[in-house]
Each structure stands twice: as structure tokens, then as C-alpha cells.
């Protein structure tokens, strides 16, 4: 690959300070996203995936602190930026589509205002230009521009999510992070939104970091998939290959937990136990207490993420 990746995250480490020992939520996570690529980030709640997303844009508040690693966007070193640089960088280079649209929209401003204010904050639009751009954005996501002066509470859940996507597209950023954009919606609307996202991506060509706990969503949408468990990356590889031939026991467990509508009937396997308490993570491989294939080595020695076959990475002693 001669072209430099859009986003490069190396060995990112995020901790939460407590009165006692700090809790490590993200422990040495590395990945990169190329231009036009869709990287799916999968994991259970508590795996650290949302933390990664917000850490990349440095949105987390104390007691969360970034204690190690690198985040590079093109030539920019995000972790070294000051307030002003960050403010210029945010939304223009990377934008964020949040989970629950009702909660991320300001209830007292019209949706038009919430689109135009980000345009005005970054560009210097001429009179009326911001509003025109907002109107065309709403058309782009499939909401009539007549809704410019509506308030968030006047829209349905699906429409609100589209508004959030429209806002995210306002400055045509090269990378969009989508943190569980469909989780709060019902299944039918989910489908519509995903379809919309795919369409927009094809049209505009931006990269996506798609975060979800639902692996099945990722298969259709992503180029590559990365799986996170307890703050660490346990597997990464091209989407289709990972789906057909998962290497890590956790990924196997995740895939086995979803019923498929087609294909032969399979027993749902699921994963016994629950995610670990990050204040006191298990020794060695963090997954070993729940792993059906665990051996003695797994409890004492931490497996490193390594390339098993070409472009397939996994952190497991048994791969």
C-alpha cells in the first residue's frame, strides 16, 4: 500500500482515574483506516469501542485520560493538538454520528440551526449560503428541506437519525465515525438507515469507522472488521473472510450467537459468563475465563496480536 492511510491509531491507551488505581478502558489498540474504507469495530458493551471513538476526537472528559499511543490523521498528530487546533480539526476532518439521536440534538434549537452553526463555525459562508447548504443536506438524507425549521421533538426517531447523519456530512469530512447509529431504532428503520448510509458512502466516497455490537450488520457494510474485547483487540481482518472463518474463540462465539435466516439450522451457542470487571481484569488472556478452548498457558501469558495468515490478525495462543 503506497497510499498513506487516512487514520492511524497506534497503541492507544485510555485510562479512567479513580480515587484508587486507574482503570484501563482501552489497552494498546492499533488500527488504521484507508481512504474509502469501512472499518467495522465490534464488541460487547464495556469492550471499550465507544471509548476508542471518542478518544480519537479527544472528546472524553476527565476522569478519562489518554495515557499512551498515537493518533494520526494524515499529517496531523491529534494527541498533540491544542484547543484551537482541535476545534478546527473536529468535524472538518472527522465527524461523529452518535447513537441516540434524540439525546444528541439540542432540544431548543431548530435542526436547521444545528446544521448551519457547524457550517458557520468552520467555513465563512456568504449570507444565506449556510441555510442553502443545510437544505440540500436534508434533501440528501431523504428528509424534505421544509423541515429546516422543525425542532427535534417534532420528528420521528428515524428522521432524527437522518438529521444527525446530515449534520455529520455538513463539511464533507473524509472520515465519519458511526457509533451504534441504528441501535436505538426499530428493525425496519434500522434497515432504511443502513441503506441510506451505504448509498451516501457510494455517492460521496467517505471512509467510515462503524462501531456496533451487532456483528451481522458489519458483514454487509464493512471492508474490514476489528473485534474488541475488554479493551484489547482480539481479531482483525477482511470482513467476508472473518465472517466465514473466524480465528479467535471470542469472534467465533459472537458469530455463533446470531441466528441466521438462511442456511442450515444451527444451535445458538452464545458465550457463557459476562465481560470482566475492568478494575480487575483477568490475568493472561482476558477472555480465558469464558473461552471454551482455554488451556493453562492462556491464564498466565498474555497473547499478542499477530498476523496469522496474510492480513488476518488474532490475539490467541491457539491460532
Amino acid at each position: 500500500m503506497t497510499e498513506r492511510p487516512l487514520l492511524e491509531v497506534k497503541d492507544l491507551r485510555v485510562e479512567y482515574l479513580t480515587p484508587g488505581r486507574p482503570v484501563c478502558a482501552v489497552d494498546g489498540v492499533s488500527f488504521s483506516i484507508a481512504k474509502g474504507e469501512v472499518l467495522g469495530l465490534a464488541g460487547e458493551s464495556g469492550s471499550g469501542k465507544s471509548t476508542v471513538a471518542q478518544a480519537i476526537m479527544r472528546l472524553l472528559q476527565p476522569p478519562a485520560v489518554i495515557t499512551g499511543g498515537e493518533v494520526r490523521f494524515g499529517d496531523d498528530d491529534v494527541l498533540a493538538m491544542d484547543e484551537a487546533a482541535l476545534r478546527a480539526f473536529r468535524w472538518r476532518k472527522i465527524s461523529l454520528v452518535f447513537q441516540s439521536a434524540m439525546n444528541v440534538l439540542n432540544p431548543v434549537l431548530t435542526i436547521g440551526e444545528q446544521i448551519t452553526d457547524v457550517i458557520e463555525a468552520h467555513d465563512r459562508p456568504k449570507r444565506g449560503e449556510a441555510r442553502e447548504r443545510a437544505a440540500s443536506l436534508l434533501d440528501l438524507v431523504g428528509i424534505g428541506s421544509g423541515r429546516l425549521d422543525s425542532f427535534p421533538h417534532q420528528l420521528s426517531g428515524g428522521m432524527r437519525q437522518r438529521v444527525v447523519i446530515a449534520i455529520a456530512l455538513a463539511l464533507r469530512p473524509p472520515l465519519m465515525i458511526m457509533d451504534e447509529p441504528t441501535t436505538a431504532l426499530d428493525v425496519v428503520v434500522q434497515r432504511e438507515i443502513l441503506h441510506q448510509i451505504t448509498e451516501l458512502k457510494q455517492k460521496l466516497g467517505f471512509s467510515i469507522l462503524f462501531i456496533t455490537h451487532d456483528l451481522s450488520l458489519l458483514v454487509e457494510l464493512s471492508t474490514r472488521i476489528a473485534v474488541l474485547y475488554a479493551g484489547k483487540m482480539v481479531e482483525m481482518g477482511p470482513a467476508l473472510e472473518l465472517f466465514r472463518d473466524p480465528k479467535h474463540p471470542y469472534t467465533k462465539g459472537l458469530l455463533g450467537s446470531f441466528p441466521s435466516l438462511t442456511g442450515p439450522r444451527r444451535r445458538l451457542t452464545g458465550i457463557p459468563g459476562s465481560p470482566p470487571d475492568m478494575r480487575n481484569p483477568p490475568s493472561g488472556c482476558r477472555f480465558h475465563p469464558r473461552c471454551p478452548d482455554a488451556v493453562d498457558r492462556c491464564a498466565s501469558e498474555r497473547p499478542l496480536l499477530r498476523e496469522i495468515v496474510t492480513d488476518r490478525h488474532a490475539a490467541c495462543h491457539l491460532c
Partner: protein, 325 residues
């Protein structure tokens, strides 16, 4: 709009309750209710005048309901009876003189206190752990623990009597005649300072803490995170995103506190002999001037209800969610 109508219904009921209470009170006392109210008039009134008074308050030998109807019709016509202390002035005339000054003083002081409190609260919450956040709230709360009128007395003593920075009494210099001239206006402003300072100091703590607390709650909301992610200026986030939302519960709180604040400011007026409703109230109590007392009760209650309704209108203007789909 339903929001406004619902509240208006409440105010109507409260107004009716006050009216009815005024009607019932003298009748609940043992003995002849008329003499309870007009005892002091003895010897001062011609029989016809006394009869007219009885008529106004419904003290006839008719059944209670008929009396009530008569009483209400008089009230609705604006006839609140005749004052004992300021005989033969009508109650409405007496109250009228004081109403303007009370509205002026209290309105002015309350608006300043609220605005200042909101601003301070916003900054205190924005810079958590800063000076504004850690020092000012406990100091203001301590100051607010003193009764208003005691603060008024201290203010009167130190700033007025000892330091002679401000005048000690009344709304304007007695030697100046009211009019649209600068001497009068400046005198009014001069006399306004001390009482309003007292009211502001006594109430500021409450508003500031209230706004600070709602701001802290709002700052943990997701739309603030999104606003940060959008790269908006701190100023825009602080005011258009955080403060505008945090303001809403405080507006409601403002309405509810109005009655309380007014009570305090009435007492402050007394200390400064400010010619408002408070002063009239004291006179009424001293002279057992029941008609005046009841008239004051009614007008003050109606004023508070009216102010509450205005606050409701402001709230509907500020919160689009109350306007319905």
C-alpha cells in the same frame, strides 16, 4: 398552548380562592363579622356611609350565598371598600399609591438578581472547581440565610447611616416634586439603590446555585458532547447549547419563588419606609384596618398570579417543546 391554559386555570382558581377567603374570614370570627371589620369606624361614620360599607362587603341579613354574590359583584367592580386608617379614602386609592412603587422596586431588583444569578451560575458551572464555583456559592447562601429585612437594617445602618452613601428613607427626596425632570429621576434612582441592593444580595445565592446545578446536569448531556465534537466555539456551546437548556427549570423556579421574594421585599420596604405595599401593610396591621389589609392581600395575590402568568408566557417562548407538534 395547553400549557398556558392549564396554568391560567390554576391562577383563576387561586384568585377565586383569595376572593372567597376574604369573604369568609370576618364571618369565621365569633361575634358580628361587621363589627370585627368596622369596629374602629365607630363614631366616625354617618349611618348611611356605614350602611354602604356593609353593603360593599355583603354584611346583610340575607342568606350567605346572596351575601357572597353581592360581595363578588362589588369586588369585580373594583370596589374594595373604604380604609380605616386613611378614612375616608377608598381602599383602591390607597393601594394604588403604593402599588407602583412596589412593582418598580421589586421588579427592578428581582430582574437584576435573576439575571446576575443566571450569569454567575453559568460561569461557575463552566469552570468547575474554579473560584466562582467554590467560593461564591457558600458565601451567598450564608448571606441568604439572613432575613431580608435584617439585611435591610444592616444595610441601612452601615451604608446609609454610618457611611452616608445612600439616603435612608422614601422613594425620592421629599423636597423634590415628582415630574419628568432629571432632579426627580436621579433622586428616585438614588433612593432605589439601597433597597434593591439588599434584595439582590438576599436572593442572588439562590438563583446562582440553582443555575449552577442545572448547568452541571445539562453539561453531562449528549448534545453537549456533540456540540464539542462539532468544533463549535466554547461561547456558543456555553450559551446556546448549555445555558439555554439549563435556564428552563430556573424560569419555572422563578415563577414559584416570586411570591416568596415579594414577601421579603415588602418587609425590606418597611425598613426603608419605601412608600410601597409593605408600608401600607404595616399601617394596616397597626391600625387594625381590615378593609385595607384584605385589599392588600387581594392585590398582592393578583399581582403575583399575573407575574406568574407572564413567566409562563416567557417559558413557552423559550421551550419549543411546550408548543406541541
Amino acid at each position: 398552548m395547553r400549557y398556558l391554559l392549564k396554568h391560567f386555570g390554576l391562577y383563576a382558581v387561586a384568585a377565586w380562592a383569595s376572593l372567597t377567603l376574604n369573604f369568609l374570614l370576618p364571618r369565621l370570627m365569633p361575634g358580628d363579622p361587621a363589627s370585627a371589620m368596622f369596629g374602629r369606624f365607630k363614631g366616625q361614620l354617618q349611618p348611611e356611609a356605614l350602611a354602604a360599607l356593609r353593603e360593599a362587603f355583603g354584611f346583610t341579613n340575607e342568606p350567605l350565598l346572596a351575601q357572597y354574590v353581592k360581595y363578588v359583584s362589588h369586588m369585580l367592580r373594583g370596589d374594595l371598600g373604604v380604609s380605616v386608617a386613611y378614612f375616608p379614602a377608598k381602599v383602591t386609592t390607597v393601594i394604588g399609591t403604593g402599588l407602583m412603587w412596589t412593582l418598580f422596586l421589586t421588579g427592578f431588583a428581582v430582574v437584576i438578581s435573576f439575571a446576575l444569578g443566571m450569569l454567575l451560575g453559568v460561569y461557575a458551572a463552566w469552570r468547575r472547581g474554579g473560584y466562582l464555583d467554590s467560593i461564591l456559592p457558600p458565601v451567598l447562601v450564608l448571606l441568604g440565610a439572613f432575613p431580608y429585612f435584617w439585611l435591610a437594617m444592616i444595610g441601612l445602618y452601615f451604608l446609609g447611616f454610618v457611611l452616608d452613601w445612600f439616603p435612608l428613607r422614601h422613594a425620592y427626596d421629599d423636597s423634590i416634586s415628582p415630574g419628568a425632570n432629571w432632579a426627580f429621576i436621579s433622586s428616585v434612582i438614588e433612593h432605589l439603590c439601597l433597597p434593591s441592593i439588599v434584595i439582590v444580595v438576599a436572593t442572588l445565592g439562590g438563583w446562582m446555585l440553582g443555575m449552577r446545578n442545572t448547568m452541571i446536569g445539562v453539561l453531562s448531556e449528549d448534545y453537549i458532547t456533540m456540540a464539542q465534537a462539532k468544533g463549535l466555539s466554547q461561547r456558543r456551546i456555553m450559551f446556546n447549547y448549555a445555558a439555554r437548556n439549563a435556564l428552563l427549570p430556573n424560569i419555572t423556579g422563578f415563577g414559584m419563588a416570586l411570591g416568596f421574594v415579594l414577601s421579603g421585599s415588602l418587609l425590606t420596604e418597611i425598613v426603608f419606609s419605601y412608600p410601597g405595599q409593605g408600608y401600607l401593610l404595616v399601617q394596616a396591621v397597626r391600625n387594625q384596618d381590615y378593609p385595607l389589609m384584605q385589599g392588600l392581600f387581594l392585590t398582592i395575590t393578583l399581582a403575583v398570579l399575573g407575574a406568574n402568568w407572564l413567566v409562563d408566557i416567557v417559558y413557552v417562548w423559550l421551550d419549543p417543546r411546550t408548543r406541541g407538534r
